[in-house]
C-alpha cells in the first residue's frame, strides 16, 4: 500500500465507523455500533503507531501530497491533501490512541444512555475531523478540520439536549469559537492575499522570508508588519480553539457534555489544535516578536488566573477543566517563548495524564451515581482502588513530580521561558512559577477531598442542595445529578472503564522520561518546526544544559518549582485533611476575593450583557426603527400615501366639464407657442 492510501485509510476509517453507527445504528444495535466505531479508530491507531515508528526508525519519509482538487481559482489549485512529518505523526498517535481509549471507556460510561449509538458516531466523527486537521497540508483543510472539530464539540456538549444548561453551553462554545475563527479566517485571507496565492503550507513558508519587512496599512496611514498582523490574526483562532484568555469562557461550560468527551475533546485533543497550528506555522511566527509577545501575554494570563479559579471549584469536573485551561496557558507561553517543541511535548504528555484525570473523574462520577460535587465524596480509595491509584498517578504527573511525564514537559517550558529574551518573558516566568504551586494545591485539594478523609456521602443523603452558602444556582451540574441513595455505596467501575485508566497511566508516568531527549534536544522536530536560533536561542541554551532525563530530575529536586509543588501538596493536605477550618476561615476573611473567583472574574456576565444582549438590542433597534419605521413606514407606505395624495389632487382636475378641459387645452397650447416663439427669438 502506498503512503497516500495509508494516510487516507487512517483518516477515513473512523469516518466510516461514524457513518455506519450514525446512519444505521438504529438497525445494527448498540453492540455492533461500538464494535464498528472502535474497529475504525483501532485501525487508525495501529497505523498511526506504525507511521510514527517508521519515522523514528528512519524508514518513513515526510509525505506532502494532494488527494483531490477541491477548488481552482486564478490558476492556483486548492486541494485536499496530507502533510505527514514527525510533528503530524506524533499528533496522529496522540489523537487516535486517546480516542481509542475513550471509545472503550464509553462502553461502560454510556451503557444506560438511550443515545448510545449517536454518541459513538459523534466521537468517531470527531476522530476523523481531528485527524484531518493535523494531517492537512494546507490552510483550507486546516480550517475544515478546525470547524469540524468545533461542530462535533458543539454536538457533544449538547449531547443531553434536554438540559437547558447543556444547550446553553454548546451554543456559547460554538459562538465563542466562531469569534476566534473570525480572526483565523482573516489571517488565512492575508496569507492568500500576500504570500503568492497558494494556501499550501510549503509554498507559504517558502514565500515568508521575502516578506519579513513587508508592511500593510490596516488603518490608513499606519504601517504594520504584515507578518505580525497575520500571525496575531491566526493566533486569535487558536485563542478560541485552545481556550486562551479572553476567549477561554466556553471551556468550563463545556463540562456539560458527557465525561468521555471532556477527556477526549476538551482536554486531550481538540483544545490543543490551536497550539498545534501555531507550532505548524512556526516559520511565520518566528518572524514576528510582537506576535510572540502577544501569545505569551495571553498564555500567561490563562495559565495563572485560570489556575486560581481551580481552587474554588466544588464540581470535580470543573477542577479538571480549570486545570486544563491553566495547562493550555503553559503551552501557549511556551509557544510565545519559541519553545514549540516544548509546547508540543507538553501537549502530548498532557493529553495522556489529563485524559487519565478526566476519565478518572468520570469513573468517580459513575461510582457516585452521577454526583459530581466533591463535598459529597471522600474516602473513595477504599471503594475504587484502581480509580484511586490511576488518579493519583495522573495528579502526580500534572503537578510535575520528577520522573513523571508532566515534570519533563512542564519543567522544560519553565526553563525555556526563563531563557527567552522577549520583553514579557520575565513576568511570564514568575506567573508560571506561582502557577506550579497553584496547580499542586488545587490538584491535591481535589485528590484529598475525593479519595481521602471522611466518607461524606453518608452524612449528606438528600442534602446535596442548599447546604453551602456559596451555592450557585446556575451551577449546571447540580441540577441533574442523582447521587447515592441511602443504602448505596460507591463502587468500582467495570473493566471497560478501568482498563483505559490503566493503559493511560503508563504513558502518564513513562513517556516524558523516554521522549524528552529526542523531542526537545534531538532532531525529532527538525524540518517540522522552525526556530530562528539567532533571535530566540532559548531552546538552544536548554540543550546545552541538558544532561539526560535522570540528571534533569535529580537537578530539579533542588529547584524552586519542585519545592513549590511540594508545598502546594502539603498545604492542600493541611487544609483539607488536618485543619479544614482554615480554608473556611480564609473564605470568610477574604470573601470579596472569593466572590470574584466564584464568579470567574465576572467575565461571563460581562460577555453575556455586552455581546449577547448588546447584539439583540442592536438587532431590535435596526428592525423596529430601521426596517419598520423608516423603510416600511416612511419610504414604502409613505410613497403609497404620497401617491394617494397626488391622485386626490389630480382627481380635482378631472371635473367632467367640457369648458374646463377646453380652457386647460388653450392654456397649454398658448404655453407651447410661447416656448416656440421664445426659442426662435433667442436663437
Amino acid at each position: 500500500m502506498d503512503m497516500k492510501s495509508l494516510y487516507l485509510l487512517i483518516a477515513l476509517a473512523p469516518l466510516a465507523g461514524s457513518l455506519i453507527a450514525g446512519l444505521f445504528g438504529w438497525a445494527i444495535g448498540r453492540r455492533a455500533s461500538h464494535v464498528v466505531t472502535i474497529l475504525g479508530v483501532a485501525v487508525s491507531a495501529a497505523l498511526s503507531l506504525k507511521v510514527l515508528s517508521g519515522f523514528i526508525s528512519g524508514q518513513t519519509e515526510v509525505f506532502n501530497g494532494a488527494v483531490y482538487t477541491w477548488l481552482t481559482v486564478g490558476g492556483h489549485e486548492y486541494a485536499v491533501g496530507f502533510l505527514v512529518d514527525k510533528l503530524t505523526a506524533m499528533m496522529m498517535v496522540v489523537v487516535s490512541c486517546v480516542s481509542l481509549m475513550v471509545h472503550v471507556y464509553t462502553i461502560g460510561y454510556m451503557q444506560e444512555d438511550p443515545g448510545y449509538q449517536r454518541f459513538f458516531s459523534y466521537i468517531s466523527l470527531f476522530t476523523f475531523s481531528m485527524l484531518m486537521l493535523v494531517m492537512s497540508n494546507n490552510f483550507i483543510q486546516l480550517f475544515f478540520g478546525w470547524e469540524a472539530v468545533g461542530l462535533v464539540s458543539y454536538l457533544l456538549i449538547g449531547f443531553w439536549f434536554k438540559r437547558p444548561t447543556a444547550t446553553f453551553a454548546n451554543l456559547k462554545a460554538f459562538l465563542v469559537n466562531r469569534v476566534g475563527d473570525f480572526g483565523f479566517l482573516l489571517g488565512i485571507g492575508l496569507v492568500l492575499a500576500h504570500f503568492g496565492g497558494s494556501l499550501n503550507y510549503s509554498d507559504v513558508f517558502a514565500a515568508a522570508p521575502a516578506l519579513a519587512n513587508k508592511t500593510i496599512q490596516i488603518f490608513p496611514g499606519v504601517e504594520w508588519s504584515l507578518m505580525t498582523v497575520t500571525c496575531i490574526l491566526l493566533f486569535v483562532g487558536a485563542m478560541g480553539k485552545s481556550a486562551q484568555f479572553p476567549l477561554h469562557v466556553w471551556l468550563p461550560d463545556s463540562m456539560e457534555g458527557p465525561t468521555p468527551i471532556s477527556a477526549l475533546i476538551h482536554a486531550a485533543t481538540m483544545v490543543t489544535a490551536g497550539l498545534f497550528m501555531v507550532s505548524r506555522m512556526s516559520p511565520l511566527f518566528e518572524m514576528s516578536d510582537t506576535a510572540l509577545n502577544f501569545i505569551m501575554i495571553s498564555g500567561t494570563i490563562t495559565a495563572l488566573f485560570m489556575g486560581f479559579l481551580g481552587i474554588v471549584q466544588n464540581d470535580i469536573k470543573k477542577v479538571v477543566a480549570y486545570s486544563t485551561l491553566s495547562q493550555l496557558g503553559y503551552m501557549t507561553v511556551a509557544l510565545g517563548a519559541s519553545a514549540y517543541s516544548a509546547a508540543m511535548f507538553h501537549v502530548m504528555t498532557h493529553a495522556f495524564f489529563k485524559a487519565l484525570l478526566f476519565l478518572g473523574a468520570g469513573s468517580v462520577i459513575m461510582g457516585m451515581h452521577h454526583d459530581q460535587d466533591m463535598r459529597n465524596m471522600g474516602g473513595l480509595r477504599k471503594y475504587m482502588p484502581i480509580t484511586w491509584i490511576t488518579s493519583l498517578i495522573g495528579s502526580l504527573a500534572l503537578i510535575g513530580t520528577p520522573f513523571f511525564s508532566g515534570f519533563y514537559s512542564k519543567d522544560s517550558i519553565i526553563e525555556a521561558v526563563a531563557a527567552s529574551h522577549l520583553p514579557f518573558a520575565g513576568v511570564a516566568y514568575w506567573a508560571l512559577i506561582i502557577g506550579v504551586f497553584v496547580t499542586a494545591f488545587y490538584s491535591f485539594r481535589m485528590y484529598f477531598l475525593v479519595f481521602h478523609g471522611k466518607e461524606r456521602w453518608m452524612a449528606n443523603h438528600g442534602a446535596h442542595h442548599g447546604h453551602d452558602e456559596d451555592h450557585d444556582d446556575e451551577e449546571p451540574s447540580t441540577d441533574h445529578h442523582h447521587g447515592l441513595g441511602p443504602n448505596d455505596k460507591p463502587h468500582e467501575s467495570p473493566w471497560v472503564v478501568t482498563l483505559p485508566l490503566v493503559v493511560l497511566a503508563i504513558p502518564s508516568v513513562l513517556i516524558g522520561f523516554f521522549a524528552i531527549e529526542p523531542l526537545l534536544f534531538g532532531d525529532f522536530f527538525k524540518g517540522a518546526i522552525t526556530i530562528d536560533a539567532l533571535k530566540h536561542p532559548g531552546m538552544h541554551e536548554l540543550a546545552e544544559e541538558f544532561h539526560g532525563p535522570v540528571g534533569m530530575a535529580v537537578h530539579a529536586l533542588s529547584s524552586l518549582p519542585f519545592w513549590l509543588a511540594l508545598s502546594g501538596v502539603v498545604v492542600a493536605w493541611i487544609f483539607y485533611m488536618k485543619a479544614p477550618h482554615i480554608p473556611a476561615a480564609i473564605k470568610q476573611r477574604f470573601s470579596a476575593v472569593h466572590k470574584v473567583l466564584d464568579n470567574k472574574y465576572y467575565m461571563d456576565d460581562l460577555y453575556f450583557n455586552l455581546f449577547a444582549k448588546g447584539s439583540r438590542a442592536l438587532g431590535t433597534l435596526f428592525w423596529k426603527v430601521g426596517d419598520m419605521l423608516l423603510i416600511d413606514g416612511l419610504m414604502v407606505n409613505g410613497t403609497a400615501k404620497l401617491v394617494g395624495v397626488f391622485s386626490r389632487l389630480t382627481r380635482k382636475l378631472q371635473t367632467g366639464f367640457i369648458y374646463s378641459y377646453a380652457a386647460s387645452m388653450i392654456i397649454g397650447v398658448l404655453g407651447l407657442m410661447t416656448l416656440w416663439f421664445a426659442g426662435i427669438i433667442l436663437r
Binding site: 483531490y68 482538487t69 477541491w70 477548488l71 481552482t72 481559482v73 486564478g74 483550507i140 480550517f143 475544515f144 470547524e147 469540524a148 461542530l151 458543539y154 454536538l155 449538547g158 439536549f161 434536554k162 437547558p164 444547550t167 446553553f168 451554543l171 460554538f174 459562538l175 466562531r178 469569534v179 475563527d181 473570525f182 479566517l185 482573516l186 488565512i188 485571507g189 492575508l190 492568500l192 492575499a193 500593510i216 490596516i218 447584539s615 439583540r616 442592536l618 438587532g619 431590535t620 435596526f622 428592525w623 430601521g626 426596517d627 423603510i631 416600511d632 419610504m635 414604502v636
Partner: protein, 497 residues
C-alpha cells in the same frame, strides 16, 4: 444532442404546466400531482445535458438558438448560456422538482393550479436565464412575476394580499426603469436588443450612471439589497412552503444575475464608480440584517432575513474591484454563494414547512424539544443549519469563504465586516435551532409531532446530498464558470467611455 436544447429546457415545464392545468378541479388532484412530478422530472432531466454537455473550454455562449420574433422591432428569440447562466437553469429545474415534492399532499385546494403555476414559472425563469435578447429577457422576467404573485395571493397566509401586492409593486417599479434603459440602449446600439451587442457599446459616463441607477432599482429589489428588501420577509411569511423555496432559491438569484449580465458588462465604468455604494449596501445587508435576523420570533422571517444577509455576499463579491479588475475569488465566490444559497435556503424553508404542517405555527416560542419527537428531522435540520452558518464541508461555506478571501485582497475592513457573518450567522441559526429543536418537549402539541414521512425524507435527503456534495467538491461547479468569469472580468476591465 438536440440543437434546440435550450428551447426544450424552457418550454418543457411550461407545456407540462399547461397539461397539469388541463386536469381541472380537485377531484382529479392525484393525477395533477403525478403529472406535475413527471413534468418537473422531465424538466430537470432535459436540463442536465446543459451541464454534462457544457464545454468548459469555452467562455462564450453555448447551445445558442436564434429565431426572429418581432421583426419590425428587430426583437429575436435568441437563447444561449455561458458558464454562469447554465448553472442557474439546472438549479432552477432541480428546485422545481423539490417544490413539487414539497407541496405533494400539503396542498389540498386547487392542486392542479398550484402545481401548474410552479411549472410554468420554472419555464419562465429558465427563459430569463437563457435569453440573449433584452426584450425576450424582459418578457420572461416580468411574466415570472405573475405565477409568483398568484402563488402568494392564492395559497398564502392570512396577510397574503398585502404581501403579494407589496411584492408585485416593489418588483414592478424597478423593472419599469429597466425597460426604459433597454429602450435607450436599443436605439443607441442601432436598433437591436442583442445583449451581447449592448456589451460592446460605448456609453458616456454620465449616461452610464443613469442607466446603472435604472438597473440598480430593478435588480436590487429582486436580490434584495438593503434598503429595498422589506418586501421579502412579508412575502416569505405569507407564501406557501414551495413559494418560499422558489423565491429564495431562484428568483432572488435573477436580481444578482441581472447585475452580472447587464450592469457590470454594459456599464463597467459606472460600476467601478459606484462600486463603493454597492459594497456599502452589501455590508449593511450582511451586518445589519444579520442582527435583525437574530431578534426574529417568526422562523420564516428569521430565515428570510438570513437570506438577505447571505445575498449580501453575492453583491459584495460582484463589486469587489481591485483597481479596474473584478476580483476573481470574489466573483466566483458570489456565484458559488448564489448556487449554494439555492440549496440551503430551499432546505431551510422546507424544514420550516415540515414543522408548520404539523403545528401550524411559525413562532419559535410555540416549539421546543422537537428533537425528542422528530430525531431524523432534527438531524437534517442540524445539517442545514450548519450549512446556513457556513460550516466547511457544506456548500454554505464555499461561497462566503471565497468572497471573504477575495475581499481581504481589496480591503481588509470589507473582509472583516463580511466575516462577522461567521458569528452572527451561527448565532441566529443555532439560537433558533436551540429554542425549536433542543430542550425538553415544549408543549402538548410538540408531543404529538410525528417524524418525517417518506416523501419529506426524500426531499431532505436529496437536498442534504447536494449541500454536502457542493461543500466537498465545489470544483464541479466552479470549473464550469471559470472561463466565462474570466471573460467577464476581462470585459469589465476595459473602459467603455
Amino acid at each position: 444532442m438536440f440543437t434546440n436544447m435550450l428551447s426544450l429546457v424552457v418550454w418543457t415545464p411550461i407545456v407540462a404546466g399547461l397539461l397539469v392545468l388541463a386536469t381541472g378541479g380537485d377531484q382529479r388532484a392525484p393525477l395533477a400531482r403525478w403529472l406535475a412530478l413527471a413534468g418537473a422530472l422531465a424538466g430537470f432531466l432535459v436540463s442536465l445535458p446543459l451541464y454534462t454537455g457544457f464545454n468548459d473550454l469555452n467562455g462564450g455562449m453555448q447551445f445558442e438558438e436564434m429565431r426572429p420574433w418581432i421583426q419590425a422591432l428587430n426583437i429575436n428569440y435568441h437563447l444561449g448560456v455561458d458558464g454562469i447562466s447554465m448553472l442557474f437553469i439546472v438549479l432552477n429545474s432541480f428546485t422545481t422538482l423539490m417544490v413539487v415534492l414539497a407541496g405533494w399532499e400539503v396542498i389540498q385546494k386547487r392542486v392542479a393550479q398550484y402545481m401548474a403555476a410552479f411549472l410554468i414559472m420554472s419555464g419562465l425563469i429558465n427563459g430569463s436565464f437563457a435569453s440573449l435578447d433584452a426584450m425576450l429577457f424582459y418578457v420572461f422576467f416580468e411574466a415570472m412575476l405573475i405565477p409568483m404573485y398568484l402563488i402568494i395571493g392564492v395559497w398564502g397566509g392570512p396577510r397574503r394580499v398585502y404581501a403579494s401586492v407589496k411584492f408585485f409593486l416593489y418588483t414592478l417599479l424597478g423593472s419599469l426603469l429597466m425597460l426604459v434603459a433597454f429602450i435607450y440602449m436599443y436605439f443607441k446600439a442601432g436598433k437591436t436588443f442583442e445583449i451581447l451587442a449592448f456589451h460592446d457599446m460605448k456609453i458616456a459616463l454620465s449616461v452610464q450612471m443613469l442607466l446603472f441607477v435604472a438597473f440598480f432599482l430593478s435588480f436590487a429589489v429582486k436580490v434584495p439589497m438593503w434598503p429595498v428588501h422589506t418586501w421579502l420577509p412579508d412575502a416569505h411569511v405569507e407564501a406557501p412552503t414551495g413559494g418560499s423555496m422558489v423565491l429564495a432559491a431562484i428568483t432572488l438569484k435573477l436580481g444578482a444575475y441581472g447585475f452580472l449580465r447587464f450592469a457590470l458588462p454594459i456599464l463597467p465604468d459606472a460600476s467601478r464608480e459606484l462600486a463603493w455604494v454597492m459594497v456599502a449596501l452589501s455590508l449593511v445587508a450582511v451586518v445589519y440584517i444579520g442582527l435583525v435576523a437574530l431578534v426574529q420570533s417568526d422562523m420564516k422571517k428569521l430565515v428570510a432575513y438570513s437570506s438577505i444577509s447571505h445575498m449580501g455576499f453575492v453583491t459584495l463579491g460582484m463589486f469587489m474591484f481591485l483597481g479596474t479588475n473584478m476580483n476573481q475569488w470574489a466573483v466566483e465566490g458570489a456565484l458559488v454563494q448564489m448556487v449554494s444559497h439555492g440549496f440551503v435556503s430551499a432546505a431551510m424553508f422546507f424544514c420550516i414547512g415540515v414543522m408548520y404542517d404539523r403545528l401550524h405555527s411559525r413562532n419559535i416560542a410555540d416549539y421546543g424539544g422537537v428533537a425528542n419527537k422528530m430525531p431524523i428531522f432534527a438531524a437534517f435540520m442540524m445539517l442545514f443549519g450548519m450549512a446556513n452558518s457556513g460550516l466547511p464541508a457544506t456548500s454554505g461555506f464555499v461561497g462566503e469563504f471565497m468572497v471573504i478571501l477575495g475581499a481581504v485582497q481589496v480591503n481588509f475592513w470589507y473582509a472583516a465586516l463580511a466575516a462577522t457573518t461567521l458569528i452572527f450567522g451561527a448565532a441566529y441559526t443555532l439560537w433558533m435551532y436551540k429554542r425549536v429543536i433542543f430542550g425538553d418537549i415544549g408543549n402538548s402539541h410538540v408531543a404529538e409531532m410525528k417524524d418525517v414521512n417518506k416523501r419529506e425524507f426524500l426531499v431532505l435527503a436529496i437536498l442534504a446530498i447536494t449541500v454536502l456534495g457542493m461543500g466537498l467538491y465545489p470544483q464541479a461547479f466552479v470549473s464550469k464558470m471559470h472561463l466565462s468569469v474570466n471573460d467577464l472580468i476581462a470585459h469589465v476591465a476595459q473602459s467603455k467611455l
